[in-house]
Symmetry: C2
Subunit: 433 residues, 2 copies
């Protein structure tokens, strides 16, 4: 790119109407002049070759992505991580905000991904490392999306739980059990105080545990638990499957009594979630499987906050994400960013329930509550309920007693004096187990 | 995990029927004992907690993933790349082959992704870095998939081209032109000798270039070019869009004369491609947008060969991938692996056309041909045809003359003596431009 062209990819003050653009924040490492690299990033993700040969035209004014802000944060003697390109030599570490014209593709998630995370991002000359950190969508663009059909409020109405976190339990063993024992385990968990019994994300519609029979038995157990406890219960059935089966599996599972559905978002694709959202009669919860392949390195890929925003945009009523604490190896700020992606204002798009998880048990509830600073989240133990030595009912009780302790302002140890289930949970899981 | 349990995740000789398992190769860096990390990797991606509390059962014999081979390749003072986990300390670099029971989930791509690239892979304790390098699918598993509906042979039959690479041209400018000039550019390219005129992967169904009018004009131009040249021509229309529009856009574009369709695979999702494959009447070509977010680092994510195998499995008749040469920053071996994923035997699944690309022009054709060692590939210039100073027709001619030179065993320079179009291509693009 000629020097005179570089400046054409930098926005002039007042030149752009913010409603016409997505704002994309990237962190990148580049060789050579950062301004040239920034201009190339804008060109590659939008207009590229911006006129026909021999034609006096310039497609950039309307169609080019443009730099809104660029800062060089430092120099490194080499890229901070080896790439397949095996480039060496000094790099500048840069942060950039780009205004990308959404009229180039419209309110379509696959095309948004192609623009913000496509060839024109990860294959820009002299930018060996780049990570999409955030994206902000103007009201005009958000208006093209429906977002969650139920959202947090809908999930609360379904369960009639308004003043505390929603307590999920992931039935364990996660894989290998037929429907009968799964339903029995779920039933015990509900009686103990779980709001929602959840299929593991690995559980599919297999011959040894068909979704039809599983949802029938768990649906029946759920209704029975509602009768016995007098409170509403949720069964979150995993319908992750080929895209052309999603709606049929929805009909099957919901018809049998599942009243929430789980889908492993990035394995079916965000757009398939949007499809299912149009069809669904119950809240949809997304699991984070496959996201980490692109999100876990600080220097490359895409930040989980971006994917969480897109999950909300696609219509997920709840978003399961890797949580706090040592187990998932997440940076605490990143988890909070992911939670904020679910809760922060986003035009008219309803809020999604953030569900951060990873080896939760009664003793981890308070830490999540304090970090998030409110009750609008899902708490999602697995082994912490279904691996409790006194059984799933006791495991669920231990979690509910932990919440009682938080509400009463007493320590878990004090609370455990009146709860053998909580006492046992502390003794079993409290060593970091 | 107890030491006695570690060995239960290592396969004993003769214990496993290969037809019951996927084979997964990972490269990982781990803290502590590699055997323990390997066992944890198997446990986390399959059975996890392998019995109910208080029940004498063991779900591992049927449902556990097991180590087939483990080798420690070296030690590093710290992980080779910083992670969000920010762990430090010595790591062992390991290669592992895991047998994963496909009966756990069945022939479903989203569930395969959840198992081989899900939570149980990227969040295993003491494995901060891991990359899925390869997967091998037994015949019984492959039998659950249809693969490409047309494959290489079908594309060749469509175009009646059997003895040379298929020549694609990506119309440039890629974005911003209305249908009329796009059709005119395509028409010139066809007359010059392109087999297939291709929409850019960034081109969507927008108000300024609706797919309906675009496919009508390009379909008509294609038929006109066939009449004038007497040979078959292809128009590859980009139908990348929300999943619930794919089949309708197929019907629209194909009805108007598009005879191949483009989809940005990972942005709509592999499973949506499988859905479209069931519906399609024309060959489907996949573009690599969004894959690199998870594939470009040697130490983390997933290797492109895996995604290419899955694209073929999902039914793509052609796979556009980042190609050889400096422009895309790809390791040559990785491109060849991606090509092999399209061409190597894969049960009864037909071959897909590999289409490696990145700033191709007449002068890069021979290098691709020599590296691949055959004619079964697609050649996909953009600017090398549509940025040719004498116009797209001349650009296409320059590519065809380059193939004539290869066939005749003469140099490009010699061939250019009788081809001003090739001469101009060399002068324009030959400096690495």
């Amino acid at each position: 790119m000629k020097a005179s062209d570089v400046s054409t990819f930098f926005a002039q003050p007042g030149e752009l109407d913010p409603e016409d653009y997505l704002e994309l924040d990237y962190l990148f490492e580049c060789h050579g002049d950062p301004r040239s690299a920034a201009a190339a990033l804008c060109s590659e993700q939008s207009t590229g070759q911006w006129h026909r040969v021999g034609v006096d035209e310039d497609l950039r004014p309307r169609f080019a992505a443009k730099v809104l802000a660029l800062s060089v944060e430092g120099q490194l003697p080499a890229p901070s991580c080896p790439t397949t390109e095996q480039v060496t030599g000094e790099v500048s570490v840069c942060r950039i905000t780009i205004a990308h014209p959404h009229g180039n593709f419209g309110p379509r998630i696959p095309n948004l991904l192609s623009a913000a995370m496509g060839e024109g991002v990860y294959f820009v000359p002299d930018i060996p490392l780049i990570k999409l950190l955030d994206l902000r969508l103007p009201t005009t663009y958000l208006a093209g999306f429906e977002g969650p059909k139920f959202g947090i409020d809908g999930i609360r109405d379904l369960l009639q739980v308004y003043d505390r976190p929603i307590v999920f339990g992931v039935v364990k063993p996660n894989i290998g059990l037929p429907p009968e024992p799964l339903a029995e385990l779920g039933y015990q968990g509900w009686l103990g105080g779980l709001d929602v019994v959840k299929d593991d994300e690995m559980l599919a519609d297999t011959a040894w545990c068909p979704l039809g029979r599983r949802s029938a038995l768990l649906g029946e157990a759920r209704r029975q638990a509602e009768v016995e406890t007098g409170v509403r219960k949720g069964y979150l059935a995993n319908v992750t499957d080929e895209v052309d089966r999603l709606c049929a599996l929805h009909d099957l599972a919901v018809g049998n009594g599942a009243n929430l559905l789980l889908v492993n978002t990035m394995t079916v694709g965000l757009s398939a979630v949007r499809l299912l959202r149009r069809h669904t009669r119950v809240p949809l919860i997304g699991h984070f499987a496959f996201i980490a392949a692109a999100s876990r390195l600080p220097c490359y890929g895409v930040h989980t906050r971006v994917i969480n925003k897109l999950q909300r945009l696609a219509g997920l009523d709840g978003v399961i994400m890797p949580g706090f604490g040592k187990r998932m190896g997440m940076d605490e700020a990143e988890v909070l960013d992911g939670v904020a992606a679910c809760l922060d204002p986003m035009g008219a798009i309803p809020r999604s329930l953030p569900i951060p998880g990873g080896s939760e048990w009664a003793g981890t509830l308070e830490g999540i509550y304090r970090r998030i600073g409110g009750v609008d989240f899902g708490f999602i133990p697995g082994r912490g309920v279904f691996g409790h030595p006194m059984g799933p009912g006791a495991g669920a009780i231990s979690v509910r007693r932990a919440w009682d302790a938080i509400r009463a302002g007493v320590s878990l140890e004090v609370q455990a004096r009146s709860s053998p289930e909580l006492r046992m949970a502390i003794d079993t899981f409290g060593g970091g187990g």
